[in-house]
């Protein structure tokens, strides 16, 4: 058990140290002191407001992480989450602004559309892989660019707000389509965030998704099939699990969840309530990073999402002390790169240790294997 704990936390800790060293070097190159930088970053996040902002930012990241993690469990790289969720957000925003419904139904309709659009767009690489053997990495990269251009066309020609002829954005969603903030809930238990600080209402959806992901993976027949197919495709096939069916279902499910990535910002973030040029378009890539950092684990990815959002919030302070803000991306990128290397090192070391332990426990193996037949 101790060994398992050690291997779980050794790699991220190692990676964090490496990332801090790399970004400190970058700060030194920029001619400033790393101590100044990290002090400024700490003071930036040391407030209730910052914590709320970090959680708000982490929520869509986490949804993105869960979406791609389902694919990862079967060794499928859903690089297309970007295209899936942005297309879903645009169509959901357009449909949501076009109708008038009572609040809960309106919200449910927007989410439903997003899920269906995400799943449909993901069905293309799923079918191509299952029936034509097309690598999903290639097809999803291509489909991201197709989606980007399709979105630009749809927004310009069909879904543009007619009242704002000079701005490329959809109409603003009505009140009934928005998720209320969670402030009143926290105020009810005596927790006041302070003026102007809003905790977005999509947080519960992300938590439910995380729990659902855990249950699906570890408590359901499908989850079992998924894990077997990912870890040992030969065994899965021998057990009668159709690889073709698993590919299709997994990628479509990944796309369905990806459809929800943009819905948090769309219906719970007062900054948006519409799709426009300011809408974030690369949360899918962040989700891939988080799934890799959090090893597809529901809690690990939540931690990674918070770390990611914290780095982004903290490095905003760097411009006050005349240090390039880009240190933040370098911190994230080097953390990701060193983490995946560290995980691989730890995996190799523990695999070697297991092999040694196994041969120690069965002393006869070697002689039997070497004995002449």
């Amino acid at each position: 058990m101790n060994r398992r704990l050690l291997t779980t936390f050794a790699a991220p800790a190692l990676a964090a140290v490496a990332a801090i060293v790399v970004s400190s070097v970058a700060v030194l190159v920029a001619g400033e002191s790393p101590a100044t930088a990290f002090k400024a970053m700490w003071s930036q996040i040391d407030s209730t407001e910052s914590i709320v902002l970090i959680v708000n930012r982490a929520v869509p990241y986490y949804v993105a992480g869960v979406a791609v993690a389902i694919g990862f469990k079967m060794n499928l790289f859903n690089i297309g989450a970007n295209g899936q969720y942005v297309l879903a957000a645009l169509l959901a925003a357009a449909a949501g602004a076009a109708v008038d419904l009572p609040a809960p139904i309106h919200v449910a309709m927007i989410m439903g559309i997003a899920v269906v659009v995400g799943a449909t767009w993901a069905a293309i690489p799923a079918l191509l892989k299952a029936y034509r053997g097309v690598n999903e990495v290639i097809s999803t990269i291509m489909l991201n660019y197709v989606a980007t251009n399709l979105i630009a066309y749809l927004l310009a020609e069909h879904f543009r707000n007619p009242d704002q002829p000079n701005i490329r954005e959809t109409r603003v969603l009505p009140e009934s389509a928005r998720l209320p903030s969670l402030n009143s809930l926290f105020e009810a238990i005596g927790f006041d965030f302070g003026p102007g600080v809003v905790l977005h209402g999509f947080l519960p959806v992300a938590i439910v998704l995380g729990i659902g992901y855990h249950v699906l993976l570890n408590r359901s027949r499908f989850g079992f099939n998924l894990r077997v197919s990912g870890e040992n495709p030969t065994a899965a096939r021998a057990a009668g699990i159709s690889p073709r069916r698993m590919i299709i279902v997994t990628l479509i499910m990944s796309g369905a969840i990806a459809g929800l990535i943009g819905i948090g910002p769309l219906i719970a973030d007062p900054q948006f309530y519409k799709y426009g040029d300011q809408f974030p378009v690369s949360y899918g890539f962040i989700g891939l990073s988080l799934a890799l950092l959090g090893r597809n684990h529901p809690v690990g990815m939540a931690a990674a999402a918070l770390v990611w959002a914290t780095i982004e919030r903290a490095t905003q302070a760097l411009s006050f002390v005349d240090i390039p803000q880009e240190i933040g991306i370098i911190l994230q990128g080097s953390f990701l790169l060193s983490a995946i290397i560290a995980y691989e090192i730890v995996r190799r070391l523990s695999a070697d240790a297991e092999t040694r332990a196994a041969s120690r426990e069965t002393p006869g193996t070697r002689t039997i294997a070497e004995a002449p037949a």
């Binding site: 097809s139 291509m142 251009n149 020609e157 995946i340």
Partner: protein, 432 residues
């Protein structure tokens, strides 16, 4: 026993039925495409489709895509999948912008190569030394590179005259151009106005002859010297990879590393070398963009690294295929710079429909109704678009290369031939 054995034999016989074309199929495809494009020019009466100017733009926009694709080729041939081409290209642009401004454009090209190779080194370190999944590592490089580039731009260009965090000051000097003497009227040892037979042929609008002359004219007239280097690199790569000992060893690291290892070839060494060349070429692709625009700017690569990866897949992991794919994508990429891009695209759609008609004839001669039917449907759709739509929106033009890639990859199926062990981590002693 005998019953099961006869089935595949019958299949093989069926494959061999019908007419077979002599010589390599690739040459026939090139010939059919040339005829289709010439026919489309005649029918649509759009001479700009094959004008030397259009080809010139296509060559300029194709070069960075082609170089990135060639970079991907060296990586995958040596056994490493390089999704990080885009990131390495970004590193190339910032280094090229820096050195082209600080020194001169040729140093910019060198800087681009070095910047990209640094990215390649990181990828090799993660994948070859530590066996990290190749997609994961390449993805991480794509995340890291824009941050590093912006950080460098902030330190180097911010506050300089004409520079900012998003773009470098202009390059110091021009890289120069080359015009072929005697064929395209370039100067030769003091003889200023040599004949220009290609130019006059291109203006005649003779079927097929003039079209090919315009292409050659574009390739030999006022071609930027860094683009000449790109062409040289392609020719050299074919020779190096398939005609030298080094090339054989490099490819063996991608096809059968354990066999290479058993013969004393260091798989680790060749995979590192392959990745350094790959990164260097991707970085140089970035420098070509920088020199074309005379400066570095943020987001300059615009997904061309991924397009390079697509040419590798479309081109079936061969240099000529990469060049052809890049030419096609470059045409789509550069067409928006021409006077009437919508009409050009429509003419190109007609050319594609004619090419599909040739494909249908070929499939029917081979007695294969399935592909013929699919091509007939595709051709009918294209013809319908050509006849009914007046103008094509730029979004669909930009979309085209990616859709073409998807269709090619999906329709090729078993004919696809990537290096056998590309993307599979190798450790000394493993059996693959």
């Amino acid at each position: 026993m005998s019953a099961t054995a006869t089935v595949p034999v019958q299949d093989a016989r069926e494959e061999r039925r019908g007419l077979r074309l002599p010589g390599p199929i690739a040459l026939w495809v090139v010939a059919a495409a040339s005829v289709a494009i010439s026919l489309a020019r005649e029918i649509s009466n759009n001479d700009d489709l094959t004008s030397a100017n259009t080809f010139g733009v296509a060559i300029r926009t194709a070069a960075p895509i082609a170089l990135a694709g060639l970079g991907g080729l060296y990586a995958e041939r040596s056994g490493t999948i390089n999704i990080g081409l885009e990131g390495m290209m970004i590193m190339g642009t910032v280094f090229a912008g820096w050195w082209a401004w600080e020194y001169n454009p040729w140093m910019g090209v060198l800087g681009g190569v070095i910047g990209g190779a640094l990215g390649g080194l990181v990828h090799a370190f993660a994948t070859v030394t530590f066996g990290v999944n190749h997609i994961v590592s390449g993805f991480a490089i794509n995340i890291l590179a824009p941050g590093v580039a912006r950080f460098m731009a902030n330190l180097l260009f911010e506050g300089e005259s004409g520079g900012s965090v998003t773009n470098s000051p202009g390059a110091s000097g021009e890289i120069g151009v080359f015009t072929m003497p005697v064929l395209s009227g370039g100067p030769l040892l003091g003889w200023k106005d040599t004949p220009d037979p290609l130019g006059s042929l291109a203006d005649r609008q003779w079927f097929l002859v003039s079209d090919i002359a315009s292409l050659l004219k574009a390739l030999t007239t006022e071609l930027r010297l860094d683009l000449v280097l790109v062409i040289v690199l392609f020719v050299a790569s074919v020779y190096v990879l398939w005609r030298t000992r080094f090339g054989l060893r490099l490819r063996s690291a991608g096809e059968r590393p354990s066999a290479a290892d058993s013969l004393g070839v260091s798989v680790v060494f060749y995979r590192y070398v392959g990745m350094l060349i790959s990164g260097g070429l991707a970085g140089m692709a970035g420098s070509v963009l920088v020199i074309g625009a005379n400066r570095y700017s943020q987001g300059q690569t615009g997904g061309r690294g991924f397009l390079g990866l697509a040419t590798l897949v479309v081109g079936n992991w061969r240099p000529a295929g990469v060049a052809a794919g890049a030419g096609l994508f470059g045409f789509f990429d550069g067409i928006t710079q021409r006077i009437d891009p919508g009409q050009l695209i429509l003419a190109a759609i007609l050319a594609a429909a004619i090419l599909l008609a040739f494909g249908i004839v070929y499939s029917v001669m081979q007695l294969r109704p399935g592909p013929a039917l699919l091509m007939a449907i595709g051709g009918a759709v294209l013809l319908w678009v050509y006849l009914t739509i007046d103008d094509i929106r730029s979004e669909f033009v930009f979309m085209a290369p990616f859709v073409v890639t998807l269709i090619v990859v999906a329709s090729r199926g078993q004919a696809s031939r990537p290096p056998a062990q590309a993307g599979i981590p190798w450790r000394k002693g493993s059996q693959n």
